[in-house]
């Protein structure tokens, strides 16, 4: 059973922001519900209000321009990302990463905003978006601000979001369009599972970046490396940003090993 709460479904962005401000601290945003309803069911989260974000038009858009790059509304689902022709063509890493999340049933509901705001170290759209140099647009009644995704994640399941703020859009720079890419996600089983280790690489003529999941309190990304980098340089850069732990899924040693292994494989494929 889920505890009692009030479900509200505002139709306008401003109404959503006002409601969030009014009930700050007591309200949670409900997107696909694939994380939040699990938390509520477990009793680890007991909000008094659930504010459904799925009726806000601004959060549903996908837009691309040569000048501004790609913009994805926070309530866009994994399925929409996987199928979108521009994303498939210009940001195939993202389309691939969205396809790595859960099962078909989950991808039909799960949103990019929910994936990032849960801020799990294993978020598949975390490591991949970081490799692509994404930024996050936050909004509240106080206005909007844009921050690098690197700064958005602050700890295990923690972000820079204030109580009255939402993620409005996720922004990908135009220079990441068409980047060569690769992603490896290690799971315990062939079916749907969270990442034991995930590594996503994006490379253009100007930079190479590696996003890594499940190896630190947040998804992390290397500094920009100058291509073509050697495997040793990339591994060294990765080592500087990860700090894996032993947990139910794998040991620290195994994670360190798999990060190196995946970087080697992906670099060979990119070459």
């Amino acid at each position: 059973m889920l505890h009692e709460f009030s479900y509200l479904a505002p139709r306008e962005r401003n109404d959503l922001l006002q409601l969030l401000k009014k009930h700050a601290g007591q309200a949670r945003l409900l997107a696909g519900g694939t994380d939040l309803l699990c938390e509520i069911r477990l009793g680890t989260d007991k909000p008094a209000f659930l504010l459904d974000v799925k009726h806000i038009p601004e959060l549903q858009d996908i837009a691309w321009s040569e000048r501004d790059g790609l913009s994805i509304g926070a309530a866009v689902t994994c399925l929409e990302i996987m199928r979108h022709p521009v994303i498939r063509k210009k940001f195939p890493l993202l389309a691939h990463a969205a396809g790595q999340i859960g099962s078909a049933q989950l991808r039909n509901r799960a949103t990019i905003g929910g994936n990032l705001c849960t801020a799990s170290p294993c978020a598949d759209l975390g490591c991949s978006s970081l490799a692509l140099g994404a930024r996050v647009e936050l909004a509240s009644v106080r206005g909007t601000r844009v921050i690098p995704m690197k700064e958005f994640f602050t700890g295990v399941k923690q972000t820079q979001l204030q109580d009255d703020e939402i993620v409005q859009r996720v922004l990908y720079p135009p220079d990441a369009a068409g980047a060569a890419w690769g992603m490896e996600k290690l799971k315990r089983i062939k079916g749907h599972d969270l990442a034991v280790v995930s590594v996503a690489i994006a490379r253009t003529a100007k930079w190479l970046r590696v996003g890594i999941g499940s190896c630190a309190p947040t998804p992390v990304v290397t500094a920009d490396l100058a291509p073509p980098a050697t495997v040793a340089t990339v591994v060294a850069a990765a080592r500087r940003v990860i700090a894996p732990i032993d947990d139910v899924r794998a040991s620290r040693e195994f994670r360190l090993f798999m990060v190196e292994e995946f970087i080697g494989r992906l670099m060979a494929r990119l070459a």
């Binding site: 009692e4 709460f5 009030s6 519900g33 069911r41 459904d52 799925k54 099962s103 078909a104 049933q105």
Partner: protein, 166 residues
């Protein structure tokens, strides 16, 4: 404290309106408010797929959807399969190929496959596996389910068919 919501849905072609609390899941709504108990609860947490229904054309875990979220929606459940006591083509194929053992996963399995077949009327084995990745079956080992889907779509190799008739 939580107010009631009026929810109107079309389930398997029939319209229903009910008053529900905000914390009612779609799964409980179907089972307890509409009496459609074909859809099962396994984990209640998005893992097992026993609760899969088709919501506006897409397979979803009904345990992770709130009833007030689906006001105005079209929903398909396993109860929409058989007509006048006659199994659907897909159900018949599951029956023929031993795609059902205890049957607990079957209602969800059928809905995942039904959603797949709408997009891919002749799915490959890989497409079938991907579509049922979120549907756990503890009995069949999946092979018979995959064969059931191949059979339903006219793709089961005749050799296997003969073997099974022995």
């Amino acid at each position: 404290m939580s107010t009631k919501h009026s929810v109107t849905v079309t389930v398997n072609g029939k319209r229903y309106t009910r008053e529900v609390a905000g914390n009612r899941t779609l799964l409980r709504f179907l089972r307890e408010d509409l009496g459609l108990t074909g859809t099962k609860e396994g984990c209640g947490a998005g893992e097992c797929g026993a609760c899969t229904v088709i919501l506006n054309g897409k397979a979803v875990n009904s345990c992770l959807v709130l009833a007030p979220e689906v006001d105005g929606a079209t929903i398909e459940t396993v109860e929409g399969e058989a007509r006048n006591g006659k199994l659907s083509k897909l159900q018949e194929a599951f029956h023929r190929n031993h795609g059902v053992q205890c049957g607990f996963c079957t209602p969800g399995m059928l809905m995942s496959v039904k959603a797949l077949l709408r997009e891919h009327p002749k799915p490959t084995v890989d497409q079938i596996k991907e579509a049922i990745e979120g549907n756990f079956c503890r009995c069949t080992g999946y092979q018979q389910i995959i064969e059931s889907v191949l059979d339903a779509t006219g793709q089961l190799k005749p050799k296997k068919e003969e073997l099974r008739r022995v």
